[in-house]
Amino acid sequence: MKRVGIDVGGTNTDAVLLDGERVVAAVKTPTTADVTSGITRALADLLAAAPTAARVDAVMIGTTHFTNAVVQRRGLTRIAAVRIGLPASASLPPFVDWPDDLAELVRGEVVMLEGGHEYDGRPIVPFDAAGMRAAARRFREAGVTSVAVASVFSPLDPSCEEQAAAILAEECPDTAVTLSHRLGRIGLLERENVTLLNACLLDLARKTARAFIDALRASGIVAPLYLTQNDGTVMLAEVAEQYPVYSFASGPTNSMRGAAFLSRLADALVVDVGGTTTDVGALRHGFPREANNVVEVGGVRTLFRMPDLLSLGLGGGSLVTLDPLSIGPLSVGYRLTTESRVFGGTTLTATDVGVAAGLLDLGDRHRVADLPGPLVRRAVQRIGAIVEEAVDRVKTEAGDVPLVVVGGGAFLVPERLAGVSSVVGVEHQAVANAVGAAIAQVSGEVDQIFQALPREEAIARASRIAADRAVTAGAARDTLRTVEVEDLPLAYLPGNSLRVRVRVVGEIAAGGP
């Protein structure tokens, strides 16, 4: 089975062709401001290197585009927010606890309406459908393009959100609607936050996904296009464009999974040195160690499961001054190949320092020959110390562990580090993210109410359904593992009702679904 994996990073766009377990070809091109032409170029380069890439079973794209949009506050849409639940939860309105700059950028009209449910399924008060209709008409007048709707206890009873969506569809049919019960579970503020983020990313997601599809078509490759999600699984691009929040942190997940795949190590630390940032994380049993509890994206609380990473403002494109010595966090990013010294520019970057120190051969090394040797060595030492400290902070066990180094800036990591048994370099390390995207997994999920069954039996039955769905979607049965089990008794329904949610993931089976 052949797959193309593409990683669109802030600095580089990488593409690989994988045939089974073998990396057939790998290319690296600069990310472009429009993202798409970078992908077009990467695919053209890949086809030139390996013409067989035209006939593959699947193309997987991993992108940090949506996370970056939130973090860098660009490309976001101003949205309207509808909270249904008054008189409950009135003192903490939507966008509470958001960073001011982000809230000011995306917060349009905020509407709080009566309605919502109790934990036992009773309505708090009747849903204010008239208020919803009046708000929908205001949205239409104001030209609102995207609305986020969150109702109290909607994961137990989504009817208020569904009624709101129906009214919005009647009154402003061109407006996109994100409903909270589709994205999250119990925990109103965090679920609502994810809904708001999704709503303000929808425009960008639709444009980006369409551009990806166009770029693929233009390249001549005919294969289904998937986008990778934050848990290392994939979703068809047409579906993924409705849920951009699910791709948050897929970049680090891909690079860590790629590192595990390339190094054949299941338990190790991983350092991914990109152009702008360095991420340090830990692999356990071949998967990224996940962060506990609340994860913030661009300063917004969510309940997403994300790799537990330490991010540093250090990369191949980091701005460097030698005297006095300073490194990063600003970076030339994707302009590395025009602005850095070795490429004829005037900006001194970590890459220039690496070339001057003889750590790599890139561009024109004569352009950095004038840098004073002692100052270059001091800069290299400082970079090594920064990485060493970060690795130490991520370690949770005593004893030395192996460290897998990936990413385009891997040359910045010293060959020996305290607390590390060996620094492991791997073939294709510069494109580990794209490899991780190519080996992304398939999931199966069930979210269903079971009646008159003991809890264990209900969970077992749900697990079997989820496993079957994963296999139908293309997973190999012997690689399946359960990543999520959640059950919630529904006291208001008769007959010992239990809502069970199970999520199972597995490797893509050879030969496809």
């Binding site: 939860s89 003192s91 903490l92 934990y119 506990n292 949770t396 809890r455 919630l488």
Partner: protein, 357 residues
Amino acid sequence: MRPVSLAEIESLAIGAWILGTGGGGSPYLALLNMRRLYRAGTVVQLMDPMDLADDALVAIVSNMGAPLVGQERLTDPRTIERAVRMMEEYLGRRFTAVMSLEIGGGNSIQPFMAAALLGLPVVDGDCMGRAFPEAQMTSFAIHDLPMYPLTLADVRDNAVIVARAESWKWMERLSRTACVAVGSIAATCKAPRTGKEVKECGILSTTTKAMRLGQAVQAARRAHRDPVQAVIDIERGLRLFTGKVQDVARRATEGFLRGTATLEGLDADRGHAFRLAFQNEFAVGWLDGQVRVTTPDLICVLDTVSGDAVGTETLRYGQRVTVVALPAAPILLTPKGLEHVGPRAFGYDLDFTSVFR
């Protein structure tokens, strides 16, 4: 009396969540309310209980209900204010100060929310020194102080006054029934206390204790030291188990969140299993099937990396956590205290043996 800074309330939220032993509800939402109130110019005063006149009247406030419900129906200062006002109307007297029923969890901040709107000071103390699920599980109950009247306010225009109750159990039953009826979450003002009663029967200085606990965790994080160890050091606690959440069974019944959680050992505890039973708060812990710890010793489940408390409603499959025991207030360990808050009070036929003996 001294002003409390918002930074101290931030620390209080961290410390109180740890003392909540899994229950009491995350203080985060109450903290968000306080940030909004402070941003609007509010400053709450903290009062040393020893400065209370014997005949002063203190409002004992708490948000009552299932923590899971509090994640959706978010706490609102106006509801707790209404419960206190209702009590003043019923008594025909004004309060001198407000005090927390329980320092564990969100109820540590409820008096600050009430105080902000009422213009009253907060007394440094509570009557549990932690969190407990039921009305009779307080130092005031252990001292046989009267348990009535009680006022209960809902977000809708519903209000209940329990004028009399024959016993603490009856007060618990009556108020719990009203609480369940309004959706298993309500703001309550418990039986008012005189300054003398607070000084003699309260668990004092727990507000500032929780603030110091939170500050210790914050300091450890800033210095990249182990925050779990910082908790153990400052409270003279005991590390019981380090592992990963393997299974959580939860059910919301009779206004409580009950259930069990199973942890699979990691690091030094690899190959061992720890089981926790909870009724809002963690009540009993078993190591490999043997009872290891029971209430009223504080059973705290902390995020192994951040040191943040993990609540019974936020426990999730796969979380890496450390179980820590902290010592309980001495009044809870007396024979009378154990009748109210020992394992048998939670339906476990076990004798209490403190892990600290």
